[in-house]
């Protein structure tokens, strides 16, 4: 080993070397004093042990004092100097060595927490294979430009965000969305940087590279979240600022009253607020890091702490508990042909952006023949869309929010909507129509009436399939006693059927978007801490009103990441019980750490006042408590 590498080794392991040397000198000095009568030599070695171990501590204490931020190191330095001044060399060396050892161990464990993000950072590949001028070139991933085509071989990491333009493969998206099962990707599908191509080669047209990728945005968000202090952290930080000077004043006061220097120095040592100030941030950083690896973005300690108090989870129905892919299940004509009913409804709904309208128009397109548009023939339909019917435009069109549409086509007025819209327009509902509607709604389907020139000519039943995971997720939340509520715009009967199928405690039906917000406010007024789960865009008002807004399927939409307090990167409902339980575990973890810190100081204080605790044993217990809270917080990394 040459001189340079020795210097490098020393720099890298300085803390460990200093602690070990101080410990050896401390052990040697103590043994010499205990076993022999060389008291002066023993004292000299113990002072040397104090200087070796205490130099760095005193240096930082000096900076603390000059920067007017009194901290633990100032207290330890004062205690060590005080002990030497009154001739308690053994105590001085012990305090310094134990503090140094504790700091070294703390440093090692804290480093693990601080680099929890490293795993996410390592997901990003360094290089990318780009097709430029017809040739393949390997370039740094950050230099790939938007619009270029990147080739990723099987087993390779995808270096950019982009769209597949050639090839087919299964892609493991766990780093970005937390989904454990690979997702099939083909032409036109979106892929993210940091995900792993498992099967076939993929050609990907870049939509974002370098720092403009979903993974980079996630990493950035997680880091910001870890740094946003929770209320407990802010409170303890403010408390600590006044606490340390108060400990010094208490030690001086104790000396003035008792003239007992040892008692006063021991108060300095045990008064260190270590475990109290270190505990909460370690718990929160660990929890946020763990959540990020599982595809759940927590926006900050404040939200995490609030999420720990959730006692009611409200779910939006469409797109959250259901797949959000509504399909027509049945068309019933009353006095007219079924396909005529569907075609007429499709014409009326053609310009609506409602998900029910999309399903009706899609179903009409799937019909092999054109029935009612007054002219289209099979031959024309073939010409237009490979055997599928084209839907003509309505002459005019009005949306009645939450109720349906009113349109005119070919001189006829067409109304497509729910019972409320029919009641508004004084349209009679014959009993056979009402029976059909009731029967379908009891199966959890949504039914719209089709009215031509004031007469009901048919009804269309639609269904949005439940997500398979929904009943399990609701049960998993109910298990620890969380109430569950479904909010939907559907009518009472459909909502009741879906709620029963999912096993949800309560449902609120026939809600307009603004009603959902009022329902959440009402629950809050009743004293509930409410989490709202939605898809992040049309549920924005209720997500913002809820104590904790949880957006689903946030990968790909920055809006969801921005508006929600918690964002599930994948459309995976099963992450919700995990996120809620993690938040609760974090809240408990913070409380455990604060409790442990307060208990340690209280017990030590009682020990000092009853003379059971010495300077060295006080420091030992103090350092052990600091290590214990760090280790307790780190449990959340593996939750």
């Amino acid at each position: 080993m040459n001189k340079q590498s020795i210097t490098q080794y020393y720099r890298k392991h300085r803390k460990a070397i200093v602690t070990a040397t101080s410990g050896l000198l401390y052990g040697g000095g103590w043994s010499l004093g205990y076993l022999t009568s060389f008291d002066t030599a023993s004292a000299a070695i113990l002072v040397l042990a104090t200087i070796v171990g205490g130099y760095d501590i005193a240096k930082t204490a000096y900076h603390e004092v000059t920067n007017r931020t009194l901290g633990i190191k100032t207290l330890v330095t004062l205690a060590a100097i005080g002990a030497i001044v009154i001739g308690e060399y053994w105590e001085a060396a012990a305090v310094v060595f134990l503090f140094s050892l504790g700091s070294y161990l703390e440093g090692r464990t804290m480093r693990k927490t601080r680099t929890a993000l490293q795993e996410l950072l390592e997901m990003t590949p360094d290089t990318a294979t780009v097709r430029r001028d017809g040739e393949l070139q390997e370039v740094p991933a950050r230099e790939v430009e938007e619009g270029e085509v990147v080739i990723v071989k099987p087993g390779g990491k995808i270096p950019v965000d982009g769209i597949v333009v050639d090839g087919e493969s299964a892609v493991n998206q766990a780093p970005v969305t937390g989904e454990s099962a690979p997702i099939h990707k083909a032409d036109g599908d979106e892929v993210y940087a940091g995900t792993v191509n498992q099967e076939g080669a993929l050609d990907i047209r870049t939509t974002g590279a370098g720092s403009d990728t979903m993974l980079e945005r996630i990493i950035c968000r997680v880091e910001e979240a870890q740094e946003a202090q929770s209320p407990t952290e802010s409170l303890i930080d403010r408390f600590a600022k006044y606490y340390t000077p108060a400990v010094i004043v208490l030690a001086i006061g104790a000396y003035a009253v008792t003239q007992n220097a040892i008692l006063s120095l021991t108060l300095l040592v045990i008064g260190c607020p270590g475990a109290l100030v270190i505990g909460p941030p370690v718990s929160i950083v660990s929890a946020i890091g763990n959540a990020a690896r599982s595809g759940v973005l927590m926006k900050g300690g404040e939200h995490l702490e609030r999420a720990g108090k959730i006692d009611l989870v409200a779910f939006d129905k469409t797109g959250t508990l259901t797949k959000g892919e509504t399909t027509v299940t049945d068309v019933e004509g009353f006095g007219v042909a079924d396909d005529e009913v569907l075609s007429l409804a499709a014409t009326a709904e053609k310009k609506s952006e409602h998900h029910l309208a999309d399903a009706i128009v899609d179903a009409a397109r799937e019909q092999p023949t054109a029935a009612t548009d007054g002219g289209a023939t099979i031959a024309q339909a073939d010409d237009m869309d490979a055997g599928r019917q084209s839907t003509p435009d309505p002459d005019d069109f009005d949306v009645v929010a939450g109720k349906g549409v009113i349109a005119h086509a070919d001189g006829q007025e067409v109304v497509v909507g729910n019972r409320a819209l029919l009641d508004d327009r004084d349209i009679d509902v014959p009993s056979r129509v009402a029976d059909y509607v009731r029967e379908r709604e009891e199966r959890g389907e949504t039914v719209v009436h089709v009215v031509r020139d004031g007469d009901i000519i048919g009804a269309i039943a639609l269904r949005d399939e439940l997500r398979e995971a929904a009943p399990g997720v609701v049960a998993a939340l109910q298990d620890p006693g969380i109430e569950t509520v479904m909010l939907t715009g559907d009518n009472e009967r459909t909502a009741a059927a879906v709620a029963e199928e999912v096993g949800i405690d309560e449902y609120r039906a026939e809600l307009l978007p603004e009603d959902k917000q009022s329902v959440i406010e009402a629950y809050q007024a009743d004293g509930h801490v409410v989490a709202m789960v939605g898809d992040g865009i049309n549920d924005a008002p209720s997500l913002a009103t809820a104590d904790v807004g949880i957006a689903m399927g946030a990968a790909g939409t920055d809006t969801a990441i921005e508006t929600a307090d918690m964002a599930l990167m994948a459309d995976d409902l099963e992450r919700i019980p995990y996120a809620v339980k993690l938040s609760k575990a974090t809240r408990w973890n913070v409380l455990e750490n604060v409790g442990l810190a307060v208990l340690t100081v209280t017990v030590l204080l009682a020990g000092v006042l009853t003379s059971y605790v010495t300077l060295a044993s006080g420091m030992l217990v103090h350092e052990a408590s600091v290590l214990l809270v760090i280790l307790n917080g780190m449990r959340l990394l593996r939750y």
């Binding site: 633990i72 440093g107 740094e227």
Partner: protein, 71 residues
Amino acid sequence: MSDTTQFRVLDFDCPTCASTVERALSNVDGVQHVEVHYATGRVEIEYDDSVATPDAFAETIENQGYTPQPA
């Protein structure tokens, strides 16, 4: 011209260490804004690049007894 730079300090022992470094950095000429986070060890400095350089910040952090690493 205003510029920003980041460091990472992995050997903070306590939140007070982070505040000490924050105060020391804010006293360096040309520093406009500084944030030091104990839990993540991230140091972010906004400064006037005609007055200060990142080297000066790294030296200040070292002088306080901590090891700055590039972020």
